[in-house]
Symmetry: C2
Subunit: 308 residues, 2 copies
């Protein structure tokens, strides 16, 4: 079976939205990537770190969904990374209320032996040198490496980010991050500049406005599925990345044509993630639901104009 290695956070989130609020619940980029990728029945392993306060039920739940957590280090005397945020009424912007790095502050990822030959590697949003150290631990060059990053690293570790960008195949970032990284407002020009930094594929996530895939002149767009209610956007971007990388791990086809499909599956799974708080919806996702929503994506985007 095809292996996917995902490096990211496994964390506690406390979320407030106009619909309600949660106590500390399961969150983190690695968690959402793992849950989404597991949908495809691939062998997905997370590399992350948690504290002694992390409930074993969460680990059991991840394992029961087929997410391997051997690479999740437990620092017994430490506390798990904690983030708390409040979404505004439009659900598109949020305020961060609390960020406690805790055990994440000294995180040195160790890739388990069993995942050193993973064909797809998803490098979650961490310090670029941490991302690099994961690549350096691989036994062989992965078939495809995907990188997420954020403005913070562009401000504080740009040279390191350039170094890791040279070694990845896909960068998946949001529109504002693409603009900052490239210095270009137009996303077409931004993608062109980012191609020159290394990645053959550039995925630009625009939240509720969908996602663009660029491949040196070629372009594909997947809308976000318009929903009557967005309950909690937390984890949608990571679920998109998990759907994208999970589908690629399953199919092991890294052609532009197949990356299009991966983008659609990413949008598909992300559209479920936002329907409930945290990981709730993703923990119980059924194949029939995903297939029905795939039909909805087709109806939403496919047309047939006869040229004349």
């Amino acid at each position: 079976m095809s292996k996917l290695l995902a490096v990211g956070t496994v964390a506690f989130d406390a979320i407030e939205t106009p619909f309600g609020k949660t106590d500390k619940i399961l969150g983190g980029s690695g968690t959402f990537v793992g849950l989404a990728a597991s949908y495809f029945g691939v062998d997905v392993g997370i590399v992350s770190v948690v504290g002694g306060d992390f409930p074993s039920e969460y680990i059991k739940m991840l394992n029961s969904r087929g997410v391997n957590t051997d690479g999740v280090e437990v620092v017994k005397e430490g506390k798990t990374f904690f983030w708390s945020g409040r979404y505004h009424n439009d659900m598109n912007s949020r305020d961060t209320l609390v960020t406690e790095l805790n055990v994440l502050a000294d995180f040195t990822p160790v890739v388990p032996e069993a995942y050193k030959d993973a064909s797809i590697v998803m490098l979650g949003n961490l310090h670029p040198l941490t991302q690099l150290s994961v690549l350096d631990q691989m036994d062989r060059k992965p078939k495809l490496t995907i990188l997420d990053t954020m403005n913070f690293w562009m401000d504080s570790a740009l040279e390191d980010l350039y170094t890791v960008l040279k070694r990845v195949d896909v960068v998946a970032i949001n529109d504002e991050e693409a603009r900052q990284l490239s210095g270009e407002y137009s996303l077409v020009n931004a993608a062109k500049k980012i191609h020159e930094m290394g990645p053959e594929y550039v995925v630009i996530k625009k939240g509720e406005h969908g996602a663009l895939l660029f491949n040196k002149g070629k372009m594909f767009f997947a809308p976000a599925l318009p929903l009557a209610e967005v309950f909690d956007p937390t984890g949608a971007g990571d679920t998109f990345a998990g759907g994208f990388s999970g589908y690629l791990a399953k199919t092991e086809d890294i052609s532009f044509q197949n990356l299009k499909n991966a983008i659609i599956y990413g949008s598909n799974l992300a559209s479920f993630c936002v329907e409930k708080f945290g990981t709730q919806r993703m923990e119980n996702l059924q194949p029939e639901e995903v297939q029905r929503r795939l039909e909805a994506f087709k109806e939403l985007t496919q047309f047939d104009i006869q040229l004349n």
Copy 2:
């Protein structure tokens, strides 16, 4: 030949963008709708008003593109509607610098005899009672009536707007207007509420983020074509409406399936409009260019996932 009647402004615009600025040039919603619709070789007539200061060259240019201007009243002693605006660096927001209604203040549209049997009617953004008076002048019920409106009329003439909404088939407004009209943030819910006000079809324009078409539960999305450079967004929304209504006038097929195509053609033509100042690009648009861009839209949106 199928007839399209378009009511809207014919105006002077003075535009500043980060790329440059213009003196008074040709603008107005009727102008952009007419030019876009004329691309399809339909018989399009504009109903509008201009002052004695309006250059005959502009009228000649419109006529040479096949736009009938018999319904454009000339008030000799009056001045033409004038708008001036400045776009911000992101090209998505703008400041209005000057609005001089001039002859538009007392505009009473008169539909020429020859267009009283038009099959498609495009009601540009004017006072709802002005829009109603156009519908009342028609000899027979048009096959399809499309309405544009704006926040201003929702604030100042909501009851009149409700009255005209009951008599149109399609409303085409932007996302903020849809939210204000419906009181719903989610565009899915907004469309549902607007359906209840009368229109069978709801088109929600999201500018650079594309356009959504709703038809009582069915949904279609057309992205805006991502461009390396947006030179001047003025008229893009009206060009979209002109492409949409012009294509429907040409095909005379008002099925959901064909309205999808009309949305794509609207986005297609709008992507040209923004490439130069004012009407410049639309005055010289060639069929081969539109066909090539249609291919670009297909590549941008079409995918083929084999279910498994």
